[in-house]
Symmetry: C2
Subunit: 386 residues, 2 copies
């Protein structure tokens, strides 16, 4: 029995190999997009688990079937926090990955066009590929996507959606300027394109000024995905999807056929983490810790790797994009594994194999400050040997 074409043609599993190798106890990983465990909000977590344990019967409804939209008190909190207008609604999803999948299944039939930045988030490439949509790349520039190319695509191609990560892009760390945000929104309105704003890193800004979401300039043409994996706890697998009610309704119906609803005890735990009086301080603490790690990584790259490539400084997120001057990224990644450090080579972030910039995605959120420098040391050794 053969699987469907869509699954057999899923993009390379090379990143799985890397992540598998990165589990080895002596391997330092700059590869994943993992938050740092030592910064988890342990105090409120501990308190919430203990409170459920002590009064289990009061929490019975958390263990029964629930509503597809989400746990009502969490839905209410987020509606308020996101200041959703009455025309908009929210859906709690099993991680942002499911949010992307829902959008893909809701709005993309085989052959439909979707624009996305190149490079782009691998998980989005995979989810969109599963629908056998036609993925169309828009090159990323220093302040966002190439607007001329974007308009050409919107104009000429059978393009329904534009998926993007405007804040601290994965993998490049790029943050769109305000002007680009406004112009992209205007193009989406003009050509009736649905903008999918994936914002998992938005709250992780550690310098510069926070910019409005693109969706704020085209609220009737946008669906926003917010993740709780980067600021809170990835293991809970929870995220939200917001947008105009009529755009969300088909996704709610699809979710019912896909997993009925997301895990309830975790929605309750998330509610308590988000409404804890220390939550703002927790996020600020994360930002400060990641700023420090980012600086450490930059210093180590400047000291040890300047001859091999360069990168743009970032104002937030979890990644640096180290552009290689001479070397081929996949070869570097393989050689690095031999030296005990994992990185992700740029080709995995391209849905086609044209115009691939040779670069490494380097994560700075997961390792400790001391090990970051050691990881770069190993990377330098690997580069020196090629």
């Amino acid at each position: 029995m053969q699987a469907t074409d869509a699954i057999r043609q899923l993009p390379s599993s090379y990143i799985r190999e890397i992540l598998q190798a990165a589990i080895a106890p002596d391997c330092l990983s700059l590869a994943g997009g993992l938050p740092n465990e030592s910064l988890f909000p342990f105090e409120v977590l501990s308190r919430t688990f203990s409170a459920i344990g002590a009064n289990i019967h009061e929490h019975t409804s958390l263990f029964q079937y629930g509503l597809t939209q989400g746990y009502p008190p969490l839905v209410d909190l987020l509606k308020t926090r996101y200041q959703l207008p009455g025309s908009h609604d929210i859906l709690i999803t099993t991680g942002s990955q499911q949010g992307i999948d829902l959008v893909a299944r809701g709005y993309l039939a085989k052959g439909d066009g979707i624009a996305l930045e190149t490079p782009s988030y691998l998980g989005a490439i995979q989810a969109f590929s599963l629908t056998e949509a036609h993925l169309q790349g828009v090159t990323q520039q220093a302040d966002g996507p190439d607007l001329q190319r974007l308009e050409d695509l919107f104009k000429t191609a059978k393009c329904k959606l534009f998926y993007a990560v405007p804040d601290f892009h994965n993998p490049t760390g790029c943050c769109w300027s305000r002007s680009v945000r406004e112009q992209v929104a205007a193009l989406c309105v003009r050509y009736n394109i649905l903008f999918i704003e994936d914002a998992p890193y938005r709250e992780l800004r550690f310098s510069g000024e926070s910019l409005p979401m693109v969706a704020s300039f085209c609220p009737e043409h946008a669906i926003v995905l917010r993740s709780f994996s980067k600021t809170t706890l990835p293991g809970l697998r929870l995220a939200s999807l917001t947008g105009p009610k009529d755009l969300l309704l088909p996704l709610m119906r699809a979710k019912q056929a896909i997993d009925l609803h997301s895990n309830l005890p975790s929605q309750y735990i998330l509610l308590h983490v988000l409404s804890d009086s220390h939550y703002s301080a927790h996020v600020q603490n994360l930002c400060e810790a990641y700023a420090m790690r980012c600086n450490t990584l930059c210093e180590a790259l400047d000291t040890r790797l300047a001859e091999f490539g360069n990168y743009e400084r970032v104002q937030g997120g979890m990644f640096l994009w180290f552009k290689l001057r001479y070397l081929e990224a996949t070869a570097v990644a393989r050689r690095s594994l031999e030296q005990g450090v994992a990185v992700v080579p740029s080709p995995v972030f391209y849905h086609h194999h044209q115009g691939v910039e040779q670069a490494l995605r380097l994560n700075f959120s997961h390792l400790g400050v001391e090990t970051l420098a050691l990881a770069v040391e190993r990377l330098a050794r690997a580069l020196g040997k090629i």
Copy 2:
């Protein structure tokens, strides 16, 4: 922006209306497939939550990203418990609903044929419909599907899969005989059909002899879905999918693009519930309680509704299938809501509108013994008024 055809053509949302109406505080619901909350395994739940709360740092990894296949200690426990041979593997899914969706996406492209019993589980009809597969019905008889029709389908139609619920079928409560199990397995092997054995109610047998799974007669041609929602806790949204490794691999790849992995704290909690020394006693207790409720419902139907229809006794599960003698099921369901009792009318369990048997699905697991009789009282009042 219009949603895809597949989503716009999703089967009727009437069951959602019923479930919505059934939430009203004065409505007694025989409609859902909910386990009885008073029988949840509270003691081990309470203990597990308290233990996590008391030692939160020891449980850090539950809150980080995890493996797509599942939480390794849970994977190991289930492999042992299900006595999986080395050729087979397991995948933890976000409820059995996701298991069905994964199978659908993994093996059904638009226009591919899938056989399923008529009537059939609504969630399966929805998940298979989303792939735009060609759903082909096989009438259910007293001891399982019509084998002649099944073989004709396998022989002549472009049929890849057969999806069925052999133990205490939803909605009919039917349990396949041993002979039918063997013959279906033989047909799947002969015609190279993948058998999808959905077994959420299998452990809820309260009388008669347990029969081997169909998959045990065709292990290389079967994927088995087991749910933890009926015997354990639906709110955790966890289930397992087992089968030959080469059949599961595409589904694991798909799951990575669909939700990365299932919730980790819940997998840990499930592990502790399943490995608790009281687990067998818990399931036995459930079976006894449901047997009692089933008897109560049967007695009430015999006393109050015999003139309106009839039903087959069941040996397990959560449902009775009350066949109406004269009346139309949807009209009865609507009228019943007005009398404060919710039931599901048979048409929602048919993927087409031909050959629909007029019947009501009556759940006996969720209400208490006293309220079951009252619910039938209201149902009798509704029927009397039509």
